[in-house]
């Protein structure tokens, strides 16, 4: 089967499975939002009546009917992007909340991922080429250490030092209050200033994977005969390192792009919460503290689907980079 077709089938299957997981999760869990609400009432000392239970079920729009009819109704809703109404803000459909937040996250994560990839890979080439030397040890250890920082914690510290103490950048939010989001330079500059600290946090804590992956692949590639041959031919060191070894060592880390992306997306949820950055992470962060189940579920679905689409796009790009997979 051609690579592109195989990847597309795989993408569609994964997409379907992810959507189904999102349907099954709340139904597999013990208890339900209704039970949680009732428990809250019961904990105040009131006696819970059947009428109360029905009232809450209606209010929360608890599902009824067989699992299959629920499933098809759910699929229909997903296709039409209808995720119901959030508990915390009943005037706004969930999808509108997400639609406002998604561009912020896409820009932040997109920028960080590209940046991490470029810088991380270059540092990895350097560490691999100079393996065992001082620079290798320094790079390996420092990125391992930075990679172990919980992203939300690194964000808190950067926030404290650069926003609270030095006041270089704003304390949080996506833009200064009073500005209306638009595409003019004033707004974009303001938004960029607000994005620097969250972006820095994600880049610092997420770069280690690229550096180490690239370093280890470099070391394996440097053992190949064609590299030795290139060296023996008297080619310049930089040519051998970049044009011969690095180009080939680059491919395996790229195929793990999806997994790296999933990690960055996960980290961004908490980082956005720390910086009150108006993306889907912040919405999820708030939905969790408010126990806003419809919003939480829709967010999980959107985050997963967006990640899957990004991975699919990279898989498609990979065909251009590695002609071998076209076979």
């Amino acid at each position: 089967m051609p690579y592109a077709l195989r990847k597309t089938i795989q993408f569609l299957l994964t997409l379907w499975a992810a959507v189904t997981v999102n349907f099954l999760l709340p139904r597999l869990m013990p208890g339900s939002p209704t039970d949680a609400a009732l428990a809250k009432i019961a904990s105040t000392g009131q006696v819970v009546t059947d009428a109360q239970r029905r009232a809450i079920e209606l209010q929360l729009g608890s599902p009824s009917g067989s699992v299959f009819s629920q499933y098809f109704a759910y699929l229909n809703n997903v296709v039409h992007l209808q995720f119901g109404v959030s508990y915390t803000d009943p005037t706004q459909p969930v999808i509108d909340t997400i639609r406002q937040a998604l561009p912020w996250t896409l820009v932040l994560i997109g920028f960080c991922t590209v940046f991490q990839f470029v810088i991380g890979t270059l540092l990895g080439v350097l560490a691999g080429w100079r393996r065992g030397r001082g620079i290798d040890t320094t790079l390996t250890l420092s990125t391992t250490f930075a990679g172990a920082f919980p992203p939300f914690w690194a964000g808190l510290l950067l926030l404290y030092v650069f926003a609270f103490k030095f006041r270089w950048w704003p304390l949080g939010g996506g833009y200064t209050d009073g500005l209306t989001p638009s595409l003019n330079l004033t707004f974009l500059g303001d938004a960029a200033a607000h994005s620097i600290l969250p972006a820095l946090t994600l880049v610092i804590t997420g770069m280690g994977g690229w550096v180490l992956g690239m370093r280890n692949n470099m070391i394996s590639t440097l053992g190949e005969d064609y590299v030795t041959f290139a060296e023996a031919n008297g080619l310049r060191t930089r040519t051998v390192a970049l044009r011969y070894a690095a180009r080939n060592a680059l491919l395996p880390p790229l195929t793990s792009f999806g997994l790296t992306l999933a990690a960055v997306v996960g980290g961004s949820v908490l980082v956005e919460g720390v910086f009150s950055y108006p993306g889907v992470g912040l919405v999820l962060y708030r939905a969790v503290s408010n126990r806003d189940y419809p919003l939480m579920q829709a967010l999980f679905l959107i985050i997963t689907v967006t990640t899957l689409v990004a991975i699919y796009l990279v898989d498609m790009l990979y065909v251009r980079l590695d002609p071998r997979v076209r076979r």
């Binding site: 195989r6 795989q10 299957l13 499975a17 999760l25 869990m29 208890g31 949680a36 390996t140 990125t143 391992t144 250490f145 990679g147 172990a148 920082f149 919980p150 992203p151 939300f152 914690w153 690194a154 808190l156 510290l157 926030l159 404290y160 804590t205 280690g208 994977g209 690229w210 550096v211 180490l212 992956g213 280890n216 692949n217 070391i219 394996s220 395996p252 880390p253 195929t255 793990s256 999806g258 997994l259 999933a262 990690a263 997306v265 996960g266 949820v269 908490l270 999820l284 962060y285 969790v288 189940y293 939480m296 967010l299 999980f300 985050i303 997963t304 990640t307 899957l308 991975i311 997979v325």
Partner: protein
């Protein structure tokens, strides 16, 4: 074969954003380099001697040695917590937000507890979750990986699909959703959630390693000798991928420590537990940074980072075991 292309050379497929070289899949790519530890159990005290020898090999690697020492220190702190902590971690009768002093090394919390005592006792929770979730996730990973790798065809297709699905679903959002839906709060629930999201990385590497070992001569010989399937998998194949399994464990442990801290920071743990995650949760909720109590944020996060680094460093040593090219010259 499979429709899901394996990329066994991954070094970066750790579920957490950590730099841990989780999959030492390079071994899977080239079986000739895979076997560095001889089969277990040739003589009776084998398992013990085997453990000692693995430890010795790890110890000879500089990075892994640093990791082992760090981890050992943390275990000692966890065990000796009652002796080391100056106060009870739940004692709340201090003045809130005292600055760091000789009495309270990192100050007191907004609830009037001693920060240092909480930090010391918190070691227990993180270590417990790291080991419990790491071991459980590795068992699941080994089971799924061995079955998928040894039984090509439909079984492999299905298991690989599930594994890949679990890998691409972003871990932290999944953990958040799971923890939010579960009716109880606390360390066991968090451990469970972390296992659910953390087994897939290991399973993928173990699967690819198993499928390369399956066609090797010694396995075929054992097959012809009439070994049962279980014996074949556990006595012939499993001992030859000790380093892969160990790497899965340390990778899962790193992800578990981070996952636990993240969930507790979000308030999805039991806020009454004394752990590094809940320390950060309370510090954030009581606005510790705004009153200048940075040490209360710095210390628990640094402790989390150190524990994760310890696991990751040991993993470097494990990686060097399975891929001699990464081995240090010393």
């Amino acid at each position: 074969m499979t429709t899901i292309p394996e990329t066994p050379l991954q070094k970066t497929d750790s579920g957490a954003p950590v730099a841990g070289p989780v999959g030492s899949g390079s071994a899977g790519a080239d079986p000739a380099r895979a076997v560095s530890i001889p089969s277990v159990g040739r003589s009776l005290p084998g398992p013990l001697r085997f453990l000692a020898r693995s430890f010795g090999t790890l110890w000879s690697n500089g990075k892994a040695r640093t990791g082992l020492i760090l981890l050992g220190l943390m275990i000692a702190v966890a065990i000796l917590a009652p002796l080391l902590a100056p106060y009870s971690p739940t004692r709340t009768d201090f003045e809130p937000y005292l600055n760091p002093s000789s009495l309270h090394w990192i100050g007191t919390t907004g609830n009037g507890e001693d920060g240092l005592s909480q930090l010391i006792y918190g070691t227990r929770v993180s270590l417990f979750v790291g080991f419990a979730a790491g071991i459980t996730a590795t068992l699941v990973a080994a089971l799924v990986g061995l079955i998928a790798g040894y039984l090509p065809g439909v079984v492999d297709e299905i298991l690989s699909f599930v594994t890949n699905l679990a890998l691409v679903i972003p871990g932290i959002p999944l953990m958040i959703i799971l923890a939010a839906y579960l009716p109880t709060r606390g360390v066991p629930v968090i451990t469970l959630v972390v296992v659910v999201t953390g087994w897939a990385t290991g399973a993928r590497v173990i699967r690819s390693q198993t499928s390369t070992l399956r066609s090797r001569d010694f396995v075929t010989a054992a097959e012809f000798a009439g070994d049962r399937l279980l014996r074949l998998v556990f006595r012939e194949i499993l001992p030859n991928m000790t380093s892969v399994v160990a790497a899965s464990f340390f990778g899962a442990a790193v992800a578990a420590v981070l996952g636990e801290a993240s969930l507790e920071f979000l308030g999805l743990g039991d806020p009454a537990t004394v752990s590094w995650g809940t320390m950060l949760y309370w510090a954030q909720n009581n606005k510790a940074l705004l009153v200048g109590q940075w040490a209360l944020i710095l210390a628990p996060g640094l402790a989390i980072a150190l524990l994760m680094v310890a696991f990751a460093l040991i993993n470097f040593g494990v990686d060097a075991l399975s891929n001699p090219r990464l081995r240090e010259k010393s």
